[in-house]
């Protein structure tokens, strides 16, 4: 329990840091949304500045402390202000439209990659020096290819030239999103290639880590004891070695999530997938600052939440953590 409380406190602190950084970046950096609009429309009078600020709710009235508390209050009520580019739309509405796409695709693909990579890592670690070990340098090369480059090549080859997969987008043209089969099947069909790219680029990392921990674990005395008892090799692998080797892997999962999310942002840009990454890209290209800030918060909070879940899983799986009550 003490461990869970410690971690909870940590994530609250991390969330607060993210919120505060997010608050100070626009105030410390030059450039603002209002200035941007002013420069886009040169015939606007300087007096329009205040009016624009009030319209977008980005003006900074009151003391810094007052601004800070108002900001925290707004975020707490999921009020991220009004969007600059798609003006009357609320930022929170835009976010609500895109989050499910990303969460479903990236979540599923990451879990698949994690289990596949861990499984392959167990095999590679156990059959050390076997054929899986020999393909490892090849996998490392694939992992080193920039994410978007591989995605573009696959898109070009499989979708543009061979028409096996659709060319980007989240669902077929002219379909109305809803809970009916024609839409769902189209969405699944459109998500296959993006999911495949995420899996193929991240599987090597999981595999390499699991393999290395497996090899170290196999050298432990209790594995030797299990072998000496005459247990079947698969039993030694899964019950004795893999079960312990998977703990560092789980701890790594939480931290690697940030990289996966980063990759997913790029992936969505390449595939024009209607998720939060594409929204972020559009926000960047059109200098849509409020949207950028809101997306940063949403992504960070999702990663923090996922980390918390991983920690709870670790508490459940690893009795040592429960016994020690902290790290």
């Amino acid at each position: 329990m003490a461990f869970v409380v410690r971690r909870l406190v940590f994530y609250v602190v991390a969330a607060w840091v993210a919120l505060t950084v997010n608050f100070f970046i626009p105030r410390a950096m030059p450039g603002s949304a209002v200035q941007d609009i002013m420069s886009k429309f040169p015939n606007l009078q300087p007096s329009a500045y205040k009016a624009l600020e009030a319209m977008l709710g980005v003006g900074h009235p009151g003391s810094l402390w007052h601004q800070y508390t108002t900001y925290l209050d707004d975020v707490f009520h999921l009020n991220f202000g009004t969007d600059v580019i798609e003006y009357p739309a609320k930022v929170s509405t835009l976010l609500a439209q895109t989050i499910p796409w990303t969460l479903t695709l990236v979540g599923t693909a990451t879990v698949i990659a994690f289990f596949l990579g861990t499984g392959l890592g167990i095999l590679a670690g156990w059959r050390h020096g076997g054929w899986l070990d020999r393909v490892l340098p090849g996998l490392m090369f694939i992992q080193a290819i920039p994410y978007f480059f591989l995605a573009l090549l696959l898109l070009d080859f499989l979708a543009l030239n061979h028409h096996i997969f659709p060319i980007g987008q989240g669902y077929g043209y002219g379909l109305i999103p809803g809970w009916h089969w024609s839409f769902i099947s189209s969405a699944i069909y459109h998500s296959l290639l993006p999911a495949f790219t995420i899996v193929i680029t991240s599987v090597a990392g999981w595999m390499l880590q699991m393999r290395n921990v497996m090899i170290t674990t196999i050298g432990e005395d209790y594995v030797l004891a299990a072998q000496a008892k005459g247990l079947r090799s698969h039993r030694v692998v899964f019950t004795y070695a893999a079960r312990n080797a998977i703990l560092p892997q789980l701890q790594g999962f939480g931290l690697a999530l940030g990289f996966v999310v980063s990759g997913a942002i790029i992936m969505e840009i390449v595939f024009s997938y209607p998720g939060i990454g594409l929204l972020l890209f559009n926000a960047v290209t059109s200098d849509d600052y409020p949207l950028m800030q809101a997306i940063f918060l949403v992504i960070t909070f999702t990663v923090l939440l996922a980390n918390l879940i991983v920690d709870l899983v670790i508490v459940f799986v690893d009795p040592r953590v429960r016994a020690r009550g902290g790290t």
Binding site: F10, V13, A14, V17, N22, I25, M29, P30, G31, H128, G129, G130, D133, P137, M140, F141, Q143, A144, I145, P146, Y147, F148, F149, L152, L153, L160, L208, N212, I215, T216, G219, Q227, A228, K229, G230, R232, H234, R235, F238, T239, A242, R243, G254, L255, G258, V261, S262, I265, I266, L280, A283, V284, T285, M292, Q293, F296, I299, T300, V303, L304
Partner: protein, 369 residues
């Protein structure tokens, strides 16, 4: 004076040193060798590349026949849509990307050494605060924050990218180095130097840091890897100085002007492959160094096959009697249950002379009670 007259080959110490250096190279795992050679080629290209570019990378040849020309004798990697030479762009791009990555690597690694070592050595409240800060920046996803920071900057030049990448690149290294320093801190030689009245900064700089040099090197390689990947991705989204030629901006322009759709592979492929090879060489180098330090990770080339099992010299003597167990997926799932550790019932004794197939048939039918 006389020492200079002695031929070098006659100096025994020089000979021994030479042999040792050669020996270290020989002892390096294959992966590290391949990685080092590959990386050396890129470093060479980065140093002399910009001096030998056949054309000015930004020069737009107005000849319509030179728009997206496929590779030929005078344009070894073809031309872009506006008639620029791809090879010249690539050579300059390798230089700029490499420069950025190395500077970020040096700055961020220095930060992680300073933070990691001081957190572990000072202890107490310092340790708590520094560890907390590095852990917090470890869980906050880097790319969205980088995009936010660079998005707000009006000038997205090389220097801005270096600053922002270094600012967010140190926490992982700091964490690893802190852990290592904690392990070294209580060793006898540190206690000895403290007893002799060494100043704290001297202990840190001359006793602790030299003992972590391999870890620092690995952390540096990882940071360079991160800097290459992230800077290329950021440039690809357009968050870079788009008038300079880095590998990322090359990809940005190629994608922007639809090189792939128009079939101009010579424009699109070289920067991507260069990034991939640079990344792969660093990964290979890192795993190679890892294997050098951890003999268990080394290729099991000396493993022999006994009774269908691969055995390394460090493995225990194979025991051919096996216990009752489940098979395949079921075994895997069962191995995670609590009861799995309690129901290890040995099977009937295994006869050495029996063939293997027969033994598994016995296994499934008879159970030892």
């Amino acid at each position: 004076m006389s020492a200079t007259m002695v031929p070098i080959s006659a100096d025994p110490s020089a000979l021994a040193e030479g042999r040792e250096r050669f020996g270290l190279w020989k002892r390096l795992p294959m992966k590290a060798k391949v990685g080092a050679v590959l990386l050396g080629l890129f470093v060479l290209a980065a140093i002399i590349g910009p001096m030998v570019t056949p054309y000015n990378p930004s020069f737009q040849n107005p000849l319509p026949s030179l728009s997206m020309h496929s590779p030929n004798g005078s344009y070894l990697l073809g031309t872009t849509e506006s008639g620029q030479d791809v090879l010249s762009q690539l050579l300059v791009g390798i230089r700029i990307t490499m420069e950025l990555a190395v500077v970020v690597g040096v700055v961020a690694t220095s930060l992680s050494v300073i933070v990691g070592v001081s957190a572990a050595f000072l202890g107490g409240i310092w340790d708590e605060v520094l560890s907390l800060v590095s852990n917090v920046f470890l869980v906050i996803p880097a790319l969205p924050l980088l995009i936010l920071l660079l998005g707000y900057l009006p000038q997205k030049g090389q220097l801005a990218t270096i600053l922002v990448l270094s600012l967010l690149g140190w926490p992982w290294g700091a964490r690893v180095i802190r852990a290592q320093t904690m392990a070294i801190r209580n060793r006898d030689f540190i206690a000895a130097s403290r007893e002799t009245g060494e100043k704290t900064w001297r202990i840190l700089a001359f006793e602790i840091v030299p003992n972590e040099i391999s870890l620092i090197a690995a952390s540096f390689v990882n940071t360079v890897l991160y800097a290459i990947g992230t800077s290329v991705a950021l440039a690809f989204i357009g968050l870079a100085d788009l008038s300079s030629w880095s590998l990322g901006t090359m990809l940005y322009w190629a994608e922007n002007q639809q090189a792939l759709e128009l079939g101009a592979w010579w424009w699109f492929a070289p920067p991507g492959i260069a990034v991939a090879l640079m990344g792969a060489s660093l990964v290979l180098l890192n795993t190679g160094i890892d294997e050098l330090g951890n003999p268990r990770l080394r290729d099991a080339s000396r493993a022999s096959r006994i009774a269908g099992r691969r055995l390394r010299p460090t493995d225990p003597t194979p025991v051919l009697q096996t216990l009752q167990g489940r098979h395949g997926v079921l075994a895997f799932l069962h191995s995670f249950s609590r009861t799995s550790l309690l129901d290890e019932r040995p099977r009937r004794a295994y006869n050495d002379k029996q063939p293997r197939q027969a033994s598994s048939a016995v296994a499934s039918s008879g159970e030892w009670q």
